[in-house]
Amino acid sequence: MGANTTAEQKNPYTPFLNASSYRMVDWHYNSSETKSIADLDRLAKDVIGAPDFNPADVKFFNAATELKRMDDYLDEPGFSEADGWKERSVKLRLPADGKRHASEDHAPAFEVSGVWVRDLTQLVISACEDRSALNLHTVPFELKFKASEDGEPEDVISELYNSQAMNSDYREVLTKSAELGCELEPGILALQFWSDATTLANFGTAALWPIYLYFANLSKYIRGKPTSFSGQHLAYIPSVSGHYCETMAYLMRIPD
């Protein structure tokens, strides 16, 4: 992993060498098993007719090679260092009834490896540099509603960037920024975290326990669209198997 990072950044069609090969393999896999007339139309429009399709690219096209490329790619770990993922391990001190240690550091440790975490600061920076930052509200504001002409204005509760919490944080940020003598416009990047165990399949114990985040500077109407891909993965916690699985594995002495 990491070896093909530079290539990956240059070529969005990784693991395929170019758009033309990608389009051909995509057509092969995403057509019905027995080719239909619609598939033939798609071949003309989405493959041969695509603006980035270049016959020279597929002069030496070999289907077996291309499919192997895809298989090999899928065998690689899914966490790319280019995206800021780091593999870490943590030590947990083990307690036991009736055992005393001079301090917590003297207690036996259990090392958990395979903890994947991402650099949170880098995520914040990337979010601001990205094109989608055009939609970020980094400066909060108040949104009021008056039920009648002479009524009291009341807060409209809608987005985090017009909440009292973010407005009051922003006043602190303004003070801090002035203290620093900074003349740049200060802003807040509003982080919202989630963590829940997700089961990947209806059978077996394949499960993930991610920590992920969204930027509340983005309107909920954009954030809520799965196609906006605004969620960011932050960490993966190893094996979330419950007491039951662990105890069973132990009792049955199933080797790892």
Partner: protein, 76 residues
């Protein structure tokens, strides 16, 4: 928590880890991971902000702030 925990616990203490111990360890694991995430660089960005050139070409001093954290019970 990797399933090897029971074997290792058994070899150290000569008895199986109780449900309470496993619950405790899962909680510890989650805290240890947050400790990795909130590193010194992030703490500096939190206190003093971090200057970033946005996509629109404008430099801003950005302060990351936490608003919500919604999670399952960490011991589960």
């Amino acid at each position: 928590l990797p399933a090897t925990i029971q074997d290792i616990y058994q070899s150290i203490f000569g008895k199986a880890a109780t449900a309470a111990v496993l619950t405790h360890l899962k909680r510890e694991l989650l805290h240890a991971i947050w400790d990795l995430i909130i590193d010194e660089r992030f703490m500096d960005a939190y206190k003093n902000g971090i200057v970033v050139k946005f996509f629109d070409g404008i430099l801003r001093r950005i302060f990351p702030r936490f608003y919500t954290y919604s999670a399952d019970y960490p011991e589960k």
